[in-house]
Subunit: 483 residues, 2 copies
């Protein structure tokens, strides 16, 4: 897995650089080095996105060839700026980067995002090495190069130079994204915004020359806004350290990892992408299992799982299934059992209560089919029974939103149960436009929704495993009194 | 798998009943038995949906308690109607159904959809048996009971009594849906409409007392509008016949089947849903494998696969991957290789040509990364190379639609390649709102799109297997000349 082992203690500048990442996400001022007055150019979009994105701090365009950019004074070099600079976003050609970074160092700039490509990913190592030396000398927290940089929906720092009408920006929330690939970072951001999922920070770190995935995890470990971390990696340099960091951080905040370049041909492709060797997948897999991080196979699984891992962890794994569509209940049971999850045995009290709630022509059971002719009131009472039953740990509600007797009032009911934070509650809505709108409203209100039972059951399996791990990890750290 | 074997020749009335299904889908006139003038009632929605859905034939409301329904004369019984009646949609209470069906028989009604429930699914067998006898006596093609009936986007027959604002109706197309469960039928219709997928016919057959899943397949075998059949089943009565029919029909038109009630708890739930025993899943699975139908695990897989199976079948299984997002290319290669599909080795001619097309900083290869700074023109030329290369059988295009240089002109390019019908072309678009809109446009124009590489690769695996089977089946039926 690793190209180089690092049992040594972390060098001091590293710690300071990681700490300095704070300034990248919360800068009082940003210098845009490579700013441009020409619409369409990267250096133009960058300034415009920050202006339009309502970043509240100071912006300093820097470019020796221009005097003004988008109505602002443009500086020849970063050193010409009078005030302090917390973050430099650099998009100059690769050969100029070391010199620019040196100027940043002299100016005491705390952090830099280097978007420029043309380094080790195309076989040019020298400029990259030089850059690393400069960053260490001045303790500059450097993200990149060959990346799209950072995005923080809270401070509105945004170095993703993709047009906002094509790449939506997500709302603030508890999920941090760390992506080696800029493009995949884009897909994740865009999808999160589309699904109404809140994001704390996005880091596209590209070649990770100065700060790599492990450093980002260390930073996010102590970031108050981050509750869960999504990590997309292709190939890494220091496997032992990543394993160590994942193990520690995952005990506090769940980490969901997607490793690309698992197979032979994909691995080759990864090499020419970010210049890293994707390496032997089996070694990665072993590290994921040892550190108990959640491994996802694809991007939809990341979101499906992240939504549920943002909920309270279940006490155990017994699932209650409620539905107003008989077929949905059967598919839900199939999906749950396929993943070796137990369908809860409802208590006699629950069964007796249900008999008085659901229509005469259906039998109280789990999966509980309240039938398509039941209204929102019946749904509410039925879910309450599952909520009260001590045999049920998670509740999966499969709503046939199309049923004539179900109306929008179901939204309030589902949100209320979810907001109790007593048991994880998830909603499956299978259908078209109407169902899609209801799902988005629910997701936006923090109720995890799924496109079908199979996707929900997959997420449950991962949440249950993580909950189990956390219980065990906690048990181990608690002093044992009885023997 | 089967509760009863049927080696015997099909009884004659069965053949006539199957033929009479034609009148159910193309009726010159429909009697709505149980019609109601009260808004919200099933018998009201039924008439209103047919009126508003622009069904062009004659409508006859029937209900002894009313004289007028929605401005139309309401008849006491079906026999009071002067003109001929091709289809009766019956929603009277279960005990009244045999009498009503008898009247239909006397009136020479060719087909009936019986929506009413309260038969064998709740343990009441007698009325159902009586109904079967009457249907056979008069050769009435009966769909149901305990179902939502039929929908035909061409003739606009529609017995699905769900409100149109919650349940969208799909456009006409080549895919037929046969579903034992009404609710799952609803989900499939709604999703198809949402995804822009064209449908030939939908049949929710419920208890399948008179005509069952095998009869529906036999009917669709010769339906000119149907190119592909989706089958959702929970439990069936005559396994041997289904196997026989699936085997024969699947050789002409691909069948995608989703079997619910695979696991123990789900199986129990299935029994109380449509009164059928879900039976031993292993026996079903064996039958699916023997007949070479495509088995899907969930509903998204059905659509993902159906879209690709509606394309020309590939000559072999070698995949060309094109992308403007490096990470997407790696994920695509992973997804393809995970399913044991070969990544095509591009010809030297292709590699030489690509060298002149793609930017200098990337290397021609497969997966082919044309880089995020390429525009639509580069995409077009790159896809053309894959189209011309004899080593490539299928082309998977992973578009980072968010990239600043990609604009809407990409739609025309993708549609043009797909419309050549030379090789299956599929498009992966991973993102939010903008990407979603482009995907829908493409799907609507018959270009299969996918939410991520993993979903596309899964569909390719199924299409490749089906193509392989069709080639072998054809080879077996062609007289062998050389030994």
């Amino acid at each position: 897995m690793m190209a180089k082992a690092s049992g040594n203690p972390k060098p001091k500048p590293k710690k300071k650089m990681i700490a300095n990442l704070h300034h990248a996400f919360n800068p009082e001022s940003i210098a845009i080095i490579g700013a441009s007055p020409t619409p369409g150019k990267l250096g133009y979009i960058m300034v415009k996105n920050l202006q339009e994105g309502r970043y509240a701090g100071r912006l300093y365009p820097v470019n020796p060839s221009h005097d003004e950019v988008l109505g602002m004074r443009c500086y020849k070099t970063v050193e010409d700026i009078k005030g302090k600079v917390d973050l430099a976003i650099i998009s100059t050609p690769a050969p100029a980067v070391p010199q620019v970074l040196e100027q940043c160092g002299k100016k005491k700039v705390k952090s830099a995002v280097i978007l420029s490509s043309g380094f080790s990913e195309v076989g040019l190592m020298d400029a990259e090495k030089e850059m690393l030396g400069i960053a260490q000398k001045y303790s500059i927290a450097v993200v990149g190069p060959n990346c799209l940089g950072i995005l923080d929906p809270n401070s509105r720092v945004d170095s993703f130079f993709f047009p906002t009408h094509k790449l939506q920006r997500p709302k603030p929330g508890g999920i941090a994204i760390v992506s080696q690939s800029g493009g995949i970072g884009v897909c994740i951001i865009d999808l999160a915004a589309f699904l109404g999922i809140g994001i704390s920070k996005v880091i596209s770190y590209g070649n990770g020359t100065v700060l790599d995935e492990s450093d980002m995890l260390e930073y996010l470990e102590n970031d108050d806004n981050t509750q869960l971390i999504v990590l997309y990696i292709e190939g890494i340099r220091d496997g032992r350290r990543l394993l160590e960091v994942m193990e520690r951080v995952n005990r506090k905040k769940p980490i969901i990892v997607l490793k690309a370049g698992r197979e032979a041909g994909a691995c080759k492709a990864a090499h020419s992408h970010t210049g890293n060797l994707a390496g032997n997948y089996l070694a990665y897999q072993a590290a994921f299992r040892q550190s108990k991080v959640v491994e996802a196979d694809n991007l939809m699984t990341i979101f499906d799982t992240a939504k549920l891992l943002s909920q309270p962890l279940p006490k155990s794994d017994r699932i209650g299934i409620v539905t107003n569509g008989g077929g949905l209940g059967i598919l839900a049971a199939d999906a749950v059992e396929k993943r070796k999850l137990p369908i809860a045995q409802l208590s006699q009290e629950s069964l007796d209560k249900l008999r008085t709630i659901i229509p005469m022509h259906v039998t109280p059971n789990n999966p509980l089919d309240i039938a398509a002719d039941s209204d929102v009131g019946v749904y509410e009472k039925a879910i309450q029974v599952m909520m009260d039953d001590p045999n049920v740990d998670l509740i999966m509600i499969n709503v046939l939103f199309q049923a004539p007797k179900i109306d929008e009032r179901i939204i309030d009911v589902l949100v209320r149960f979810s907001d109790m934070h007593l048991k994880p509650v998830m909603v499956v809505g299978l259908g078209g436009g109407y169902t899609d709108i209801i799902r988005r409203v629910l997701d936006g209100k923090g109720v995890p929704t799924y496109s079908e039972p199979d996707a929900a059951a997959n997420a449950i399996r991962m949440q249950v495993d993580y909950a189990d791990y956390r219980r065990k990890a906690r048990a181990m750290t608690v002093p044992v009194r009885k023997r």
